[in-house]
């Protein structure tokens, strides 16, 4: 009788251990998405920098973007925004400028892929600010990447955009 009880306890313990391992694995994989290389929907802002003669690109990443919803609805559902500041070449700058002209917007909505060289993206200098887009305020972290990235690619231009982003503080 005692042996049977111990057997049942051991079996339950074994189940609990398996469950624990499963939960830990799920937690590990969920948190291990690659933050250095990402493909996301973002608002792009290209501009010339007369200070140094280069072309900058600000990538305002819209996390958890739902393509079934409008841009306005997606913006309303954002908690915060990450912005990566890169230096791009003239060819990429011209391409983005043409897309801007096409829809007459300053910031264009695109599906983008970015590969950062620095393997710990959070080590880029970050400045925390608040920005305003279409009457909504967001916390925005600006990552000063500049030249330290490997590649940037526009996968799809989503034919939408916004007119302005205002720096609040």
């Amino acid at each position: 009788m005692e042996i049977n009880r111990q057997h049942i306890i051991m079996r339950n313990l074994n189940k609990q251990t398996k469950l624990l391992v499963l939960l830990l694995s799920m937690f590990f994989f969920i948190n291990c998405h690659n933050k250095e290389n990402f493909q996301e929907i973002a608002l792009l802002d290209s501009y010339t920098v007369h200070q140094n003669g280069r072309y900058n690109l600000n990538i305002y990443l819209l996390d958890k973007y739902n393509k079934r919803k409008s841009l306005k609805e997606n913006l309303e559902s954002q908690d915060s925004i990450r912005c990566y500041i890169l230096i791009v070449d003239k060819k990429k700058y011209n391409h983005i400028e043409k897309l801007k002209e096409k829809i007459h917007k300053q910031y264009i909505l695109c599906d983008v892929s970015v590969k950062l060289v620095n393997d710990k993206y959070h080590e880029f200098k970050v400045e925390k600010n608040i920005i305003k887009i279409q009457n909504s305020k967001f916390k925005c972290d600006f990552y000063m990447v500049f030249d330290d990235f490997d590649s940037f690619k526009i996968n799809t231009f989503l034919n939408d955009g916004i007119d302005s982003i205002h720096l609040v503080e």
Binding site: H50, Q51, N52, G53, D89, V126, E127, L167
Partner: protein
């Protein structure tokens, strides 16, 4: 860094505001390293270039010096024109700095103190213009 590449300070925008960054690159193969270091350091004190660079890669080709700044260290020469002192003072005045988890942070767009720094404005401020009065009106 290739010999032809110019030294520079990283600058950037945050939405509709423009900033001179506090990082950059000095090319030690520069023809006049002393002038280059002084020029880039003056950027860190808030001064803007007084030339437009149409090269797209920071190389010397395609640079057009703003009128009145041909002999100025931020344009095409070695002198420091009087207008810069005003800009440095404006820079100091417009520096409400916040301390957060990243340390001290510049919060003031350089367009607040230096009209020439704003992207798209290509003529710079000539020393003879009524820069100060116009700044006040703008504020």
């Amino acid at each position: 860094m290739p010999d032809s590449k110019a030294s520079f300070v990283n600058s950037f925008s945050k939405g509709d505001s423009y900033f001179i960054g506090n990082t950059g690159v000095i090319n030690n193969k520069s023809n006049n390293i002393t002038k280059t270091v002084i020029h880039e350091t003056l950027h860190l004190l808030g001064l803007s270039d007084r030339y437009d660079d149409f090269s797209g890669d920071g190389s010397p080709r395609g640079k057009v010096t703003h009128s009145g700044f041909e002999n100025d260290i931020m344009g095409g020469g070695n002198d420091v024109l009087g207008v810069h002192y005003e800009n440095i003072i404006n820079f100091g005045k417009s520096l409400p700095r916040n301390e957060n988890e990243n340390g001290f942070q510049y919060n003031s767009s350089n367009s607040n103190y230096d009209r020439a720094s704003k992207t798209g404005l290509r003529n710079g401020n000539k020393p003879t213009t009524h820069y100060h009065e116009e700044s006040k009106q703008a504020n």
